[in-house]
């Protein structure tokens, strides 16, 4: 039940804050903030209570199932393991910060804004928790509409175009995934007689290689669109740039991670053989993303657009690591998801703060801001360094582990990806140089970080440092997951009494061929 609460808390928060906005704007903001903090608290409690006892491999901390549409074998099935837990913590952490960051930025229709923001968070939490493929698709779509509104209503000048593009791209990918889900459902049903959308049953679906490849591609398209990987990345710069700060933070920090999560949770375990066949291509896409994204990032005149393209580059590492098929790379991928969420989220918040002060995102109109805003400069420096992969900060750990892991799988790709780190240094330093150093032509007198902004930035700095210095916090939690990469075993699903056609199956395991 506790898993259901994790999804329901932001949903009710969304409704309440919308209702409250009719009477009191401040109350509406507070409700949104408090409900997300409650979620964060709940997740933290779960984390702490589970960190204490050593857990065996393939252990699911929580599992909850209720029949929903038994006719189709669909159930409300939520389950949580280390990966979900870590992602949920990130979700609520960044979610709460996005409410804070919008405190002054959003000036109209505040109630509706917070409704959408919290609803996106609820959808994302659902995606990270659900173990029923239909429900997964459902939450996948639930994230969409509120995000569309966030970009389309509160965004910058070209918001409608960007919102459209985002919506159509993601929806197209999602529908292909739906087809693949249904294909899997029917193949599983035809082969085993059990028609169910339940993840744990579908895990070991026997099928022909060619079929598996097609289905795998169906899933993969949806996830790489969201990730995004070349050539499906074109929605991202528009959406990130035009979205309000909170929207960009949620997009970069959380929505992209749902794509990565989908690959880890669904594509690889459901189609181990097919993914393994496809791995070189996926790694190639990843490397192409790293290099091309980095190069595009370097040439952007617009600060938010620049940061957006760095996401393309960083997410390339995710694709590279996910298809390397070894523990090290997987751990690196999860670390990368978290670290990128924090660092890019922070950079977007800084870009938002700059926009609030200067009303421009043009790099050419900035410069020499350090004397005016030393504190903000320092914070920016930290996250720029994180973005370029400085040891001691979270991203370094992540990228290092991914590269180590992928070296075992593919030498050439890894060498190419390493070049990406150099590009990352170049574009990251360009941010510092263009914004904070150089000549200040206009002699801006700008206020430095205020109390609220300190409240936002301080936790982010702490977390990114913590991740860099003591990554074991995350790595220790996801151990369970990593073990199941090699040996997938279904948990002991307590059978719902009336879950339609679903019949109990015994534990079963499957071993991936390791890359040599």
């Amino acid at each position: 039940m506790v898993l259901l609460y994790i999804i329901l808390i932001p949903m009710f928060g969304a409704l309440l804050s919308w209702l409250a906005s009719a009477r009191n704007i401040a109350l509406c903001r507070w409700i949104a903030l408090v409900s997300l903090l409650c979620g964060l608290l709940l997740v933290t409690v779960l984390w702490v209570s589970n960190a204490a006892d050593p857990t065996p491999a393939g252990h699911w901390m929580y599992n909850w199932q209720q029949p929903w549409i038994p006719h189709f074998g669909i159930s409300l099935h939520l389950a949580m393991d280390g990966l979900s837990l870590v992602m949920l913590a990130l979700t609520f952490f960044l979610g709460a910060l996005s409410v804070l960051i919008s405190w002054r930025e959003i000036k109209f229709k505040i109630g509706f804004f917070h409704f959408n923001l919290l609803f996106v968070i609820a959808g994302i939490a659902g995606v990270f928790l659900t173990m029923d493929l239909f429900l997964f698709y459902f939450f996948w779509e639930v994230m969409l509409i509120p995000m569309y509104f966030l970009i389309g209503i509160w965004g910058h000048e070209r918001r409608e175009y960007a919102a459209y593009k985002f919506f159509i791209f993601t929806q197209a990918g999602g529908l292909l995934m739906l087809l693949a889900i249904l294909g899997l459902y029917f193949i599983h049903g035809a082969n085993t007689g059990v028609y169910t959308f339940d993840y744990f049953y579908l895990l070991n679906t026997p099928m022909e290689r060619a079929v598996a490849q097609w289905l795998m591609l169906g899933f993969l398209v949806a996830f790489v669109v969201k990730l995004p990987a070349i050539p499906f990345h074109t929605w991202l710069p528009d959406a990130h740039t035009e979205a309000p700060t909170a929207g960009s933070v949620v997009l970069a920090g959380l929505l992209l991670k749902t794509g990565a999560y989908g690959i880890l949770r669904f594509v690889l375990p459901l189609f181990p053989a097919a993914s393994h066949d496809f791995a070189p291509w996926a790694m190639l896409l990843g490397v192409a993303g790293i290099l091309y994204g980095g190069q595009l990032a370097y040439s952007q005149p617009d600060l938010k657009r620049l940061i957006a393209y760095t996401s393309v580059s960083h997410m390339g590492f995710v694709l590279l690591g996910a298809f390397a098929f070894n523990e090290l790379a997987y751990k690196g991928v999860v670390m990368q998801m978290i670290a990128h969420g924090i660092s890019t989220g922070a950079l977007f918040m800084i870009a938002g703060a700059l926009y609030e002060r200067m009303h421009t995102r043009e790099l050419s109109r900035m410069g020499g801001l350090w004397p005016a805003m030393p504190a903000m400069g320092t914070v920016t420096m930290i996250f720029v360094m994180a973005s370029l992969g400085l040891p001691g900060l979270g991203n370094f750990v992540a990228e290092f582990m991914i590269l180590l892991g992928s070296w075992q799988a593919n030498h050439i790709m890894t060498i190419l990806a390493t070049i990406g780190l150099v590009i990352a240094t170049v574009y990251s330093l360009r941010i510092m140089q263009k914004v904070f150093f150089g000549q200040s032509e206009r002699q801006y007198a700008l206020p430095d970080l205020g109390l609220r902004e300190w409240l936002i930035m301080a936790p982010l700095v702490v977390v990114i440092l913590w991740l860099g210095v003591y990554p074991q916090t995350v790595l220790g939690t996801i151990t369970n997951y990593e073990l199941r990469i090699t040996t997938f075993s279904a948990p002991h699903v307590p059978q719902a009494e009336s879950s339609g056609r679903v019949v109990p199956v015994s534990d079963s395991s499957f071993v991936i061929n390791h890359a040599p």
Binding site: P70, H71, F72, Y137, F138, E160, A163, F167, Q171, G183
Partner: protein
């Protein structure tokens, strides 16, 4: 005629009786409100009379009529939709200058026609029902005859519908001439026995398909739809979009089943091509429409294409998918027109996309309702439309028609674009002070009806199980 016969025709008798009553009332005392209530009560009674019929099924009144679960379910859907349309009609017509009373009379007759269609299993009853529907629609479409586009639409529909009926009739004659049967099972039995497919029968089926295709508004017989939707009074457009098409689709399904359509690959391919063409033409043409009525017209062409995909899967789940999709599509479509109705003033219909600019900031309630309708049409989760589309995809996968499904997916994406365009327009925040907007009538009854429809759609989207169970029980055709 036995008592059981009478009882099993309850919905039809209620509607027909009310039509007679309305005619008399118009002669004695012309009063809009009175006629409205009589019609409303008639529809409510008809809906209630659906329930007891369930105990008698399946019931045949040879040779014309068959009442099985399938027919009963569709009767219920038709009467229910009719009820919603009537609820939305009062204010719309009250505000307009023409004599209002005959509208209800024609609406009752048209509904009766549709009810005959869903229980017919014979060319006679089929044609009778179809003509009853069509002829009432001539009057309904041109009802606001003082308005320019209304009589244009009426004449257009009159000519085209008459022409298509002629095709249908000629096709029936050919089929009858060669098979010697006018009842569907008889034709099916003859074809099975003969083993071959004589040319005149093929020609007959082809001609019938033209007639049916016209009524369904599928490509290439769709040309009338946008003009009729644009010109007809809004409640009538809702009627054409839902009840009229649904009734004919039911006959098509029954006919296809009775003649074992699955055995004739050519027939399947013709329908498949029609389905693909309907999806593409409907969606692509809807993209550029500035008039919401026309957009809805093209979108309904596309939706018929989706329904044909389920139809062509030729499985039990396909039948269930059609039933569920119609259950979702009827209220959604009527609701979309309902929004147009409550947003219209007595002088002007709110029909261009521009009329809805920034609606959310002016009338948040109506905008939210409209958003739900559009999202349901687009098939976004949490709405009935999503489950409906999901059901269709399930049926397609079940029948292994991957190509059709791919077309459906592509079209769903195209469809998203124009539905979202309207949604985006409603949430647009640009300065709206310079424009003079239509002052909407926003009648209370209309708003309540819309609220109920929204509840129904979201309810079906979140908890479809109950409806699915009902449909599973109901989707048995008599053999």
């Amino acid at each position: 005629m036995t008592f059981e016969d009478l009882l099993s025709l309850g919905p039809l008798f209620n509607i027909c009786g009310a039509a007679v009553l309305c005619m008399l009332l118009v002669a004695i005392w012309r009063n809009h409100r009175l006629i409205y209530y009589v019609t409303l009560v008639a529809f409510a009674l008809a809906l209630m009379s659906v329930v007891p019929v369930a105990t008698l099924l399946p019931h045949t009144i040879a040779p014309l009529i068959v009442i099985d679960m399938f027919a009963l379910f569709n009767s219920g859907a038709i009467v229910g939709s009719g009820l919603i349309i009537v609820l939305l009609s009062y204010n719309y017509f009250e505000e307009r200058e023409e004599r209002k009373e005959e509208y209800y009379l024609l609406l009752l007759l048209a509904t009766a026609g549709a009810l005959v269609l869903v229980i017919s299993r014979h060319f006679m009853s089929f044609f009778l029902g179809l003509e009853m529907l069509s002829i009432s629609l001539y009057g309904l479409i041109a009802y606001l005859r003082a308005r320019q586009r209304s009589d244009e639409a009426g004449i257009k529909y009159l000519i085209l519908a008459a022409l298509s009926s002629a095709f249908l009739l000629f096709g029936m004659a050919l089929v009858y001439g060669f098979t010697g049967h006018m009842d569907f099972p008889g034709i099916g039995a003859y074809l099975r026995q003969a083993g071959t497919f004589p040319l005149p029968v093929i020609a007959g089926f082809g001609l019938m398909l033209i007639g049916i295709g016209f009524k369904l508004g599928i490509v290439p017989f769709h040309m009338w739809a946008p003009d009729i939707y644009e010109g007809a009074p809004l409640p009538v457009a809702a009627f054409v979009a839902t009840i009229s098409k649904g009734g004919v689709l039911v006959v098509l399904i029954r006919f296809y089943q009775d003649i074992d359509g699955r055995n004739y690959t050519m027939l399947w391919w013709i329908l498949a091509i029609t389905a693909i063409a309907s999806m593409f033409v409907g969606n692509l043409l809807a993209l550029t429409q500035q008039n919401i009525k026309r957009m809805l017209a093209y979108s309904s062409i596309a939706h018929l294409g989706y329904l044909l995909v389920a139809f062509l899967s030729d499985t039990q789940s396909g039948l269930e998918a059609i039933a569920f999709y119609l259950t979702a599509y009827f209220p959604t479509s009527i609701g979309a027109f309902g929004v147009l109705i409550v947003m219209s003033s007595s002088v002007q219909d709110a029909e261009t996309v521009e009329d809805y600019r920034g609606l959310f900031w002016r009338y948040p309630w109506v905008a939210l309702v409209f958003t739900v309708m559009l999202l349901s049409l687009a098939g976004i989760p949490l709405t009935a439309g999503f489950i409906g589309k999901f059901y269709i995809v399930m049926a397609g996968v079940d029948g292994h028609h991957w190509f059709l499904l791919l077309m459906l997916v592509i079209n769903s994406v195209i469809g998203l674009y124009y539905y979202m365009r309207v949604v985006a327009m409603m949430f647009r925040t640009t300065d709206t002070s310079q424009r003079i907007f239509i002052k909407p009538s926003l009648p209370l009854a209309g708003n309540i009806t819309l609220g109920l429809i929204v509840m129904l759609l979201v309810g079906l989207g979140v908890y479809p199980t109950a409806m699915m169970q009902l449909i599973q029980q109901m989707m048995t055709l008599i053999k």
